[in-house]
Amino acid sequence: MTDLATYNFAYLDEQTKRMIRRAILKAIAIPGYQVPFASREMPMPYGWGTGGVQVTASIIGPEDVLKVIDQGADDTTNAVSIRAFFQKVANVAVTTHTKDATIIQTRHRIPEQKLAEGQILVYQVPIPEPLRFLEPRETETRKMHALEEYGLMHVKLYEDIAHNGRISKTYAYPVKVAGRYVMDPSPTPKFDNPKMHLSEALQLFGAGREKRIYAVPPYTEVVSLDFEDYPFEIQKFEQPCALCGAEGVYLDEVVLDDKGGRMFVCSDTDHCEERREHGHAGAMLAPSKEAAE
């Protein structure tokens, strides 16, 4: 990566950044609408979030503080590489603390800590088109968006209930933005959908391979699609985080041994660490304290 030093600030040339910023501005002006943009080759493969990386590269400035997460963690290969990339090409400060970041690039999760005004959440999106699997023709999906013909989205949910007795979709759960465009928050777990609703932070979505950018401006309505008699529900976890005792957060299962031992811990590692630093402890860390309570 040493030769990257000869590249422009944040890797992309200024003209490309301007083009992407124009797409972002348009996306913000039309919440949930997928704006096509001329996606560039990035020095990483498509599955690595090149869309998100291009968005971040176009909005980041020297004063920004960047956090990068994959699932909820700051320390996966993908997150570490993207963070290192921006340290290298933009020399920006990085953090793992949600509240200290001005830009957070994410592959799946929305941090548990409520985002604040002035923060920007950048999503890496693999498949931006929510209608794609029902209607493969791009010309037709565009028309359906333009004419607000979204009946098919409910056909999909209907099928889900007919075959599974409930809406079994847990990821990439479709939402309607500002009462107009149906949007795929992919591949975020539906657990995080409510966090998108009226968020104080600006949310930007970049799909590199599919060459689309879309956005949810701050304080925008984001409603998960459902039926009156099968309302949208988020996943519920039976026990709190084994490490920090947090409830009402998204948990990952961790296998402890080959005898079936396992525990559930926060998927948002920063949130979990912060809670532990503040003295919270789950069953795994403080069995005696739990017992005493």
Binding site: V155, F227, Y230
Partner: protein
Amino acid sequence: MTDTPLLKVSGVSKFYGSRIGCKGVSFDLWPGEVLAIVGESGSGKTTLLNCLSTRLIPTTGSVEYRMRDGNFRDLYHMGEAERRFLMRTDWGFVHQNPVDGLRMTVSAGANVGERLMAIGDRHYGKIRETASDWLARVEISTDRIDDQPRAFSGGMRQRLQIARNLVTHPRLVFMDEPTGGLDVSVQARLLDLVRGLVNDLGLSAIVVTHDLAVARLLSHRMMVMKDGHVIEHGLTDRVLDDPREPYTQLLVSSILQV
């Protein structure tokens, strides 16, 4: 029937380059009326039907439809959003090949329910109940509601396509050779079913067929096409029993010979 037509067609022509698809077709369709368009292969039946149903833009002419509010609207001066809405609420279109009119990879229930969801129905239980009622009406056992049409016979698929179209209580249904690909015995059953539904629902319909027996059974009026022109037009019984044009006479007698 009221004294106002549902559809007013005047001077509709469609050219494919220099070839005539259909030429100078004018007629009115009345509420509750079934019109058959007959003629040999290549005479322009499908072209005309598609021009009437906005699936094809005519080269010249106008087609006006009386909306539910009683006002006539020129279909070709409507916005696309409004036209598409009309097509999936107040109209039906039954394709000759059910594969063209069905979603083959979603269940029968969802196929019937799609239009309801498209117009904003958001109660799963009610949508399913309505779908189930419609399956029964088209003689599909309701325990097939979660099966995909891929697992249905040709006749069942065609009946499912009809249910899918009728669920929003359209006032006008277009059909292109609805019994086309079916066995004779299956055809007869489907025709009986269509006739019953049209009567019960007071539907208006325009049915394209090259089969005069279908026209006889379903339609009140018929138009005979040849080389893109309507050459004879009248009450079905009159045209079939007392054809005036030599071409129609030939058509009728050739059928009688079969």
